[in-house]
Structures are given as C-alpha cells and as structure tokens.
Symmetry: C2
Subunit: 190 residues, 2 copies
C-alpha cells in the first residue's frame, strides 16, 4: 500500500538551524481525538532525521503558569502535548552564527517540535492540566550535568505570556546563569 500524501504531517523551519515544527494529522471525533504523535516513516518522508528514540518522558503540569527550562541536554528531543496548551521557547546554545537565536511557538495537541541537541528547551503552561510528552535519543542519568539558561536572561529576553513573577518554577530553575558565549556548546559536541 502506498502512503497517501494527504496523511503526511507538514513541516516548517525556524530561525534555529535544525529546529522544525511539525503540524500533525489530529483526528477529532465524538470520543475526543486520535493522533499519530510520532510515526517514523512519515517523519522521515517529511525530512526529519532518523533520530532513534530510546526514551519517552511525560511531564504533567497541574496549573497554568508552570514554567520549565531552559535545559540543553546532550540529546535530540521530539516534543509535543497529549492535552493542554503551552508557550514553547527555544534558545540556540551552540557556538556559531546562530548562538543565542530564539524561537517561540504556542502549541496545542496538533503540533510537535523537533529540537536538535545543543538547543535549550523550555515551556510555559497556558492551561491547567497540560501533559507534555517527548521522545529523546539518549538516556538521562541521575546527576547528569547539562547547560541551563536563566528564564529571565535579558539578552535573549523571551516574551513569556505569563510574567515570571507569577510563574511556578522549580528551585533548580531559579538558579541558572545568563547567556555567556564562552560557554557555547562546541560543534564537535553536538
């Protein structure tokens, strides 16, 4: 059987090299919806890399205002929502011309984002009871160190819809440093 072209998700590029937005084929019916959140063959057909996920994480957010990030773990991420709505924000932490470049996007359950390693990942929750789900291609380990960026860094100046003073933020995420080109992630490490 051949793949009918209309069932392919569509892909949009962003100002961050390698970070792409995927519009999914969400099918709504009287029960709710069904979606292929990630489908290897179709993702390859639209140009995503064959990134080989080995782990699927879910972070559930009880309240609007939860803000997580900006984390730059050494693996690629395919991020999306099982329910709810977020404001996603990404910062390029790789050395080179695009260091410090940002991209933001309001996401509901019909959209996913592929985030290449070396790009800081974060989000702010816009609706109570938002479930964020993502695939990664390397395993997290307790105590693993990775670069993180202050949510209120004044250089990248992310325009959070909910002021950070009203946000729910982990203790860990309240102590991250500002943008510093001397800590850019070398190309060989990405």
């Amino acid at each position: 059987m051949t793949l009918s072209p209309q069932s392919l998700p569509s892909l949009e590029t962003s100002p961050i090299p390698g970070l792409v937005v995927v519009r999914l084929d969400r099918r709504d019916d009287s029960r709710g919806f069904f979606k292929e959140n990630w489908q290897r063959e179709k993702m390859l057909a639209i140009g995503l890399p064959d990134f080989g996920p080995v782990q699927n994480n879910v972070s559930f957010n009880a309240d609007r205002g939860v803000t997580r990030g900006i984390h730059t773990e050494p693996w690629d991420k395919f991020v999306s929502l099982a329910t709810g709505r977020i404001f996603g924000a990404w910062v390029d932490m790789r050395e080179g011309d695009s260091f410090g470049a940002t991209f933001t996007l309001e996401m509901d359950t019909s959209v996913a984002v592929f985030v290449p390693r070396g790009v800081g990942n974060s989000y702010q929750v816009l609706e109570d009871a938002t479930a964020y789900t993502y695939l990664v291609n390397a395993h997290w380990r307790p105590g693993i160190a990775y670069p993180a960026l202050a949510l209120d860094d004044s250089t990248v100046a992310i325009d959070w819809p909910i002021p950070l003073g009203e946000a729910i933020i982990s203790e860990k995420d309240q102590n991250n440093p500002g943008l510093d080109p001397s800590t850019a992630i070398p190309a060989k490490k990405t």
Copy 2:
C-alpha cells in the same frame, strides 16, 4: 555511572502470556509530575523485550465512559496514560491454551502495560480528559484489517465498570463479532 537499582520500574506478570504490568517511577512535585514513561535500557533490565517502537499514538478522551476496542493489530503495544484514569481490558486472541484468557487492570499515570501482538487491547475511560499514549513497533496503514472482538462478548464477559449501554463507543466498535476459536490467530502469525 551505574544504574541505581531503586530507580528501576517493577514488573508484574498476568494470566496472559507475555502481557506484563510495569509500575513506573513517577516523581510528583509542586509543578505536577515527571515520569520516564518508557526507557529502553531500564525496560530491558526488568525483562521487557527490545520491541523497537516506530510509532507513538495519543488518543484523547473528553469524557468518562468512552470505551475503545477490543483491537488486535499485528504489532506489540506499550500502553500508558499521560493524564487521567482508565479500566484496561485485554483478551488473548492467539490460538493455544490461553485463547480467550482475559486480564483487566485499573490504570493511572503511574502504570504501563506491555501488550504482545495477538492480544486484543481495549479500555474504558474512568475520568474526563484522559489522555492515553502508546508505542507500537509497526506502522498502521489506512484500511489495514485486524481482528476485533465485541465489547459485550458473553464468553469473555468483561466486567466493565461503566455499563456499555451508557458508554461512548465508535460506530466501528459496535459491529465487532463475538469470540470464535476458528478465527484464533495462528502462532506463526504472532
């Protein structure tokens, strides 16, 4: 770094050969929770097969009472919840001694089930806004045929918490046949 044993999920067998229940390490905090929903290395360590997922699906259920299944697609499934609560029900459709064996389990976000191919998969939603997420190791195609079993089959007699007369069921799922040993899935096909 070695894997700390306490971070491994735990595994329980069931009356259906190969169908196992996984208790996940869900970490609750002031934001909500975080969980490794599937982690290849840990799943292998506790005895799950290296099933090689190529697709991640999400089915969102607006209302308590939605009932989906009983579907026996030709691939393995690793099923879990991103939010909400369900009553899961499985029926062995493979020829042999366990043909017709059933297993049911109330699931919240801290539990997952590995469902081997040849076992019919279904669930009833116990809470509004329940998001079901699962990984499979072969791609669905439009029009693909697979065995399905009537939700109200009197032989397997699943004890649904919500009477099927009050359930929300797709048209397709209202026309499935009853249990018939002559249509058992041959071992070579599983």
